[in-house]
Amino acid sequence: MKTVPLYELAHARTGDKGNRSNISVIAYRAEDFALLREQVTEDRVAQHFAYRKPSKVTRYLLPKIGAMNFVLDDVLDGGVNDALNLDMHGKSLSFHLLTLPIVVPDNVGS
């Protein structure tokens, strides 16, 4: 076994509405979806974004397209109209999520 960043196995996109961010995580290969489902959990994602103090993290699964959708509540410092962040939408958060370490068999990932 070895550890790789989620970035090796999946791509992701962030969207925002108000003070809520959603981040999709999409497996490049359908056969990796089970592994992502097991390791990219609500708890781990909440931990990964703990510094932004999400009040709630919800995961939705879309196995037919090998994707999951995370909804993170109250992580945008009020959202597009209120945040002092240059990235007031949180557009960059998807790539932060892709740094999450994933344990994979030696023949998976690059």
């Binding site: 970035y7 791509h11 969207g15 959603n22 939705y60 397209i65 909804v71 109209n81 002092l84 962040n85």
Partner: protein
């Protein structure tokens, strides 16, 4: 019945003005029924348009309207391709009159322009409705404006009654696409699966290039051909509610299962319940398949009855915001930038809420509380830009922050250069849900003299 193709000419206010041309050309070459949409209203665009309209009642619609439509208007009219856009923003009637003027200047016959209103709740009557449905914590805040998301049905009616252009204020983004599909296929307001399919087709179109390789390219990992000339999307809608996503011919970009999967989930929360005024769309069992080069089919979208309420975005005056930046380079640059940050904190931190970033160390990942920033140990970056941002009800305090940043030139650490400052008015926002019968959409046509 032939399938209808719907293209997207813009995906936000301020989008590229040369994007729609290739989309219209592709629709013309394809032949058959077609429409083009312009989605130009992000959450806060409309609130700022409301302020603009208060300053000048003839304004408050999309500032780029002329540049977006002038290149394509004659072709669309000649080939019977209706244009549907929320470029009306806070002043749909003003936008309609502008388009009428443009048509005259282009030598076109008087156009039939439909105007969909009823979204604007900024007047006293609207405010009274909004106040009943917003959370108590907002009761004392100074109300600025409110708009409710209208749906597709009045757009469809305008098209059935011969509109060549439909101008709207706030409508749900996907409804711009659902409207022409309803008008074409004659779907009823309760054909939930078909409406849901068209809603997701519209969802894929509404951000323009985001489904054709924009907001996607990651060199070496997700490469996009000729991304500088990324083409804007077109969906070919089937009567059963499935669609094929493609893009304008002879353009850059790509449409593949990855771009479509990313965009289908963009700004979606529960995939089984994507709420719009027209339908509750369910993509939890949807399928996405490549069916040709730059052609992807989305199928299996299901629909459930539409909500009994409409969502309204409500804006309050939110004080002022200012920020400033200054750079340091060379030996010990990061330490000098950190010293500059301490100077600003000491002089301004007690007066206003401040955020500090060191661009080159961290610029966007941190949160406003500063905990993330503080956890990064001091390093040795040799080219770093300090950014401070603050907010206050009193614009004079925001002015003072800007003066403190520019004073770093002479009174701050050695070698500071490139100071820049900005200030703007802020709006704070909330949303609420209003029974739809209280806020009906209204369709009218521009009268000709």
């Amino acid at each position: 019945m032939e399938d209808i193709a719907v293209g997207a000419g813009a995906g936000f206010s301020g989008d590229r003005v040369d994007a729609a041309g290739p989309v219209v050309q592709t629709l013309i070459e394809r032949g058959g029924p077609a429409a083009i949409i312009f989605e130009m209203l992000a959450e806060r665009t409309l609130a700022f348009a409301q302020i603009e309209k208060q300053r000048d009642p003839s304004k408050g619609y999309e500032p780029l309207l002329d540049m977006e439509l002038r290149p394509i208007l004659a072709d669309c009219v000649r080939h019977g391709i209706p244009i549907i856009g929320n470029f009306g923003q806070a002043n749909p009637r003003g936008a309609a009159l502008h388009i009428e003027r443009m048509a005259r200047e282009l030598g076109l016959k008087a156009l039939r322009i439909g105007v969909v209103e009823g979204d604007d709740l900024s007047g006293a009557e609207g405010e009274a409705i909004v106040r009943k449905y917003i959370a108590k914590e907002y009761a004392r805040k100074p109300f600025a404006s409110a708009n409710v998301y209208q749906g597709a049905m009045e757009i469809a009616r305008a098209l059935k009654e011969g509109a060549q252009v439909v101008v709207t204020g706030r409508v749900a983004d996907p409804s711009l696409t659902v409207g022409p599909c309803v008008a074409h296929y004659g779907w009823s307001a309760t054909d939930w699966d078909a409406l849901a399919g068209a809603t997701m087709a519209g969802h894929l179109l509404e951000c323009g290039a985001q489904v054709t390789g924009g907001y996607f390219a990651d060199p070496g990992k997700k490469d996009v051909p000729d991304v500088a000339n990324v083409g804007y999307p077109i969906t070919e809608m089937s009567a059963d509610g499935s669609c094929i996503v493609t893009k304008a011919a002879r353009t850059g970009g790509l449409v593949d299962t990855r771009t479509v999967k990313e965009q289908v989930l963009y700004e979606v929360h529960d995939p089984a319940a994507y709420l719009t005024p027209d339908v509750v769309a369910d993509i939890s069992e949807a399928e996405i398949a490549q069916v040709g080069p730059d052609r992807v089919r989305l199928s299996g979208v299901r629909g459930h009855p539409r909500p009994a309420t409409l969502k309204a975005n409500v804006f309050f005056e939110g004080g002022w915001f200012s920020d400033g930046e200054i750079s340091y380079a060379g030996p010990n640059a990061e330490a000098r930038a950190r010293l500059a940050a301490r100077i600003i904190r000491e002089r301004m931190g007690h007066q206003m809420k401040l955020r500090v970033d060191l661009i080159g160390v961290t610029s966007i990942l941190a949160d406003d509380s500063g905990h993330y920033f503080e956890a990064i140990p001091a390093g040795n970056s040799t080219d770093v830009r300090l950014r401070v941002a603050g907010t206050h009800e009193d614009p004079a305090v925001c002015d003072r922050l800007m003066r403190e940043v520019t004073a770093l030139w002479t009174a701050g650490p050695a070698g500071g250069g490139g100071a820049r400052v900005t200030k703007r008015q802020r709006l704070s926002t909330t949303s609420c849900f209003i029974p739809r019968e209280l806020v009906p959409a209204r369709l009218s046509f521009v009268e000709h003299e």
